[in-house]
Symmetry: C2
Subunit: 165 residues, 2 copies
């Protein structure tokens, strides 16, 4: 079971965007530079976040990305779902249907016990991620960072954030 690194990048990106003063936006280029990741690939994740309505993109000069909603309404699950999709991690291939003692279609109206258990476990996983929203993430980051680093981040944002009308 693995999660692509795009999720990690997207999460850090959203956390950073949540620190940008209202009205500001950051270009994909700037975001990739801040995170130290390849710009074209990060762009892919940004597009996914945009389609999911998590960030708002604006083209053209002085364009870039900003959060599309209040940070309180954006959870880690929202970000994960936007980047990785919502397909269940456990893919039931209906093994019970095949083999010499395979079940008839009639016996398989509901999900099998194994698939049901994984489905439930995934629901717990989703719920846990849904409970974590951007404000608590940036609080956690702020807790670890030294005052000097916090200042440097704010200055960096100030230098790179385009101010929309």
């Amino acid at each position: 079971m693995k999660i692509g690194k795009g999720v990690e990048w997207a999460a850090h990106t959203c956390a950073l965007l949540a620190m940008v003063p209202a009205g500001g936006a950051l270009s994909g280029e700037a975001l990739a530079d801040f995170l130290g990741v390849p710009p074209p690939y990060l762009a892919k994740q940004l597009q996914a976040l945009s389609r999911a309505g998590i960030v708002a993109a604006k083209r053209g000069a002085a364009g870039g990305y900003r959060l599309a909603r209040l940070p309180e309404t954006i959870s880690l699950w929202d970000i994960t779902a936007a980047v990785e999709g919502t397909a269940p991690s456990f893919r039931c291939t209906e093994v019970r249907r095949s083999g010499p003692c395979g079940a008839s279609a009639k016996e398989c109206s509901g999900p099998c016990a194994i698939a049901a258990a994984f489905r439930q476990a995934e629901a717990e996983y989703r719920n846990a991620l849904s409970d974590v929203r951007l404000p608590s993430l940036i609080a956690g980051i702020a807790e670890d960072a030294t005052p000097a680093r916090k200042r440097r981040i704010m200055e960096w944002i100030d230098r790179h954030a385009a101010n929309a009308a």
Copy 2:
């Protein structure tokens, strides 16, 4: 986030082995036939289950696989861990360390807020799977199966189970 199908096969295999009368064993060939999956690949999963101490393997004529412990002590998590490993699904690449505002080593003693959240979510996932053990799985299967199918399964087991001394 995806789980290999080996886990599904392994789970069905364990459920089947739990239905074998005490002292009986099933060969890898027979198990693959019952599930309708490629024998050499199922063998790989069986080896993983064997290494994890979930099934006991016996070589030679009249050899095969049987459960190594009581069904009550084998959970879906045990099986998943044996086949997929226990590496965390979220792989933190320490993004916070890189880029123009990267954190110093000192600021990164603990896991970052994002990694911590995923770690917690995965713990919930594991716990949910740990709560599901073989007896409840076979109960679920028995619930769906018609009496005729249950009989056929028992007959199949009887025909293929080698009886160890």
